[in-house]
Symmetry: C2
Subunit: 342 residues, 2 copies
């Protein structure tokens, strides 16, 4: 997977939370600890920070002594920039030889002190949004191994979460499975991947082909989806990712109570069956055997009873296992995959 070499993170991580106070802004840090706890050595919180990832607190010096290899900027501060008060810690980490890993709209090497510290220690300054330099055009050539792609009725419906949860459930069910990250938070969790939405348009499906390379015939890649074919801003990204992924199975991700595309109020969220059908029609171009293997719904706005009714009705409507990965887990989808592909 030569094309991916530019984004290959080194563990263990120290996760920088800084002085962020809202849990929502620290989703990346929480996600890494939830899905890849073994990669995390500790957290660096400033006194004002009330959040707690549940891992040891460490100064940069303590982390360096403990063999930490990367400082992960695990938060999205308001404005998308690194506050002035954080730079001293970042510089100290870079000087100590830790890679600095960041997905914000900040170019780390635009800061001369950071660039100098990294230059003398050999630390890397890694922007996880930056795609590898020489991507190919998608060829559509069939690859070995099996693939599942999470697709959405909208952005922000849990495509990353569903892929991570399904990958875990697949492995728990005895499958060989690998989560493949197509967005910045996913890349920080997986330690590798390509931010598909940052790729130049001509190379989106080619980048997606690199993301899930040839593998054992009984190995499954569970690929994080992006956007939605029904999104007026991002559908092209979703289509390129669908074509390059060549999924054998798609999992449609939906939201139980959302009516309109987030921040695009004039665009209704499609019905789950319409989303299944459209993805299958388009996906057949590079995998004629594509089928839907399940539906993953964010039902957080429902009561437990409403959730059961909702998922049962959707299961009736689609004829597919319908889960909320947080509330019910993904085992029903794993069972369906086992039956369909045995």
């Amino acid at each position: 997977m030569e094309g991916l070499k530019t984004i290959q993170l080194e563990a263990p991580y120290l996760i920088l939370l800084g002085d962020v106070t809202a849990k929502d802004l620290a989703k990346t840090g929480f996600g890494i600890v939830q899905w890849r706890p073994k990669l995390v050595a500790g957290q660096l919180r400033f006194p004002e920070c009330p959040l707690d990832l549940g891992v040891p607190d460490m100064t940069v010096a303590e982390a360096a002594a403990a063999g930490v290899r990367s400082l992960i900027i695990g938060v999205a501060p308001v404005g998308g920039v690194i506050p002035d008060s954080w730079w001293a810690a970042v510089e100290e980490a870079a000087a100590a030889g830790m890679d600095i890993v960041c997905g914000l709209h900040v170019k780390l090497d635009d800061n001369p002190a950071i660039a100098a510290a990294a230059g003398s220690s050999g630390a890397r300054l890694i922007d996880v949004r930056e795609p590898p330099g020489r991507l190919p055009v998608g060829r559509g050539t069939k690859r070995s191994g099996k693939r599942i792609l999470t697709v959405g009725v909208d952005c922000a419906v849990g495509k990353k979460y569903a892929a991570l949860a399904l990958d875990e459930a697949m492995r728990g069910g005895g499958f060989k499975s690998t989560f493949r990250a197509s967005g910045q938070t996913g890349i920080m969790i997986a330690g590798v991947g390509i931010a598909i939405d940052s790729v130049v348009a001509d190379f989106v499906s080619g980048a997606a082909e690199l993301l899930s390379p040839d593998n054992d015939d009984d190995h499954w890649d569970v690929i994080e989806g992006q956007g939605s074919l029904f999104h007026p801003g991002y559908a092209g990204v979703s289509l390129g990712l669908l074509h390059g992924s060549q999924p054998d199975g798609i999992v449609v991700c939906a939201h139980a109570t959302r009516k309109a595309i987030t921040e695009w109020p004039d665009f209704p969220v499609p019905a789950v069956n319409e989303c299944i059908e459209r993805n299958i029609v388009e996906g057949r171009l590079t995998n004629p055997d594509i089928r839907c293997v399940g539906v993953s719904v964010n039902t957080s706005a429902l009561t437990s009873e409403e959730r059961s009714d909702y998922l049962a009705a959707l299961q009736e409507e689609t004829g597919l296992p319908c889960v909320d990965p947080i509330a019910t887990g993904c085992d029903a989808i794993v069972d369906y995959v086992r039956a369909e592909f045995s």
Copy 2:
């Protein structure tokens, strides 16, 4: 159209053909002379060049004296780079204050002599493949004016040619019409545009929205399409351009004898009706009233009689005007548009 300011070419042009010997490699130069002859002051050919654009031969000094504003590199030399023997002429033009306009995989300002010459004269070094710096995400908001987008069953089926020919026929038929360029050759012809395939994936539909901004209710933009929804490498580009263009009408571009996607031999070219239907299904997201207004076919491999039979059969099959813009012109499509939108 502020986002487009970075690509706004200055006429008159001197077209550099250099020592290219194959007409195929000089398509850009021939295209500019064909479609925008008034922009062209002359051609610069080296002694080895047997091609002739039919415009006056000029040295750089003669062009400068005649008020030429831009040197257009109107050829694609083998390898996509500017041969060493051409640089002296390019430098002389830059020193004389002419903008240097290039769509090759060469960064003009990587050449120190060219950069210095342009720096002291104030000439611009323009890469027509380079998108404007700050593009928006597509919003899908309905714009005023009418739009036609050429879409394809494949790449290289004459989408640019069809758009230029239809724009000309629309104006000839009394319509207000503007050709909108989405690729590098189109940009050199129109003098303005965005190379959609060079845009970062997240911004493709946003770039397409900039390309055909609000206009008079009775004004038509005829937009150059890119790629094909049936292309395993480029479909995402095509979908983003379709969504951002919000076309009222599409013209499907096809090729009478092509069976497989060019350079993707395992992927068949879709039937015209399938291509119409898919583009309409997808295009409805941002324009529910989208319809197909005609089919443009490259019939260059057919005899005159075969062409008539082919186009008549296709017209029967699609119920739409079917033309070869070179052999028959686009008036049948203009008539159809007039009837459909009156």
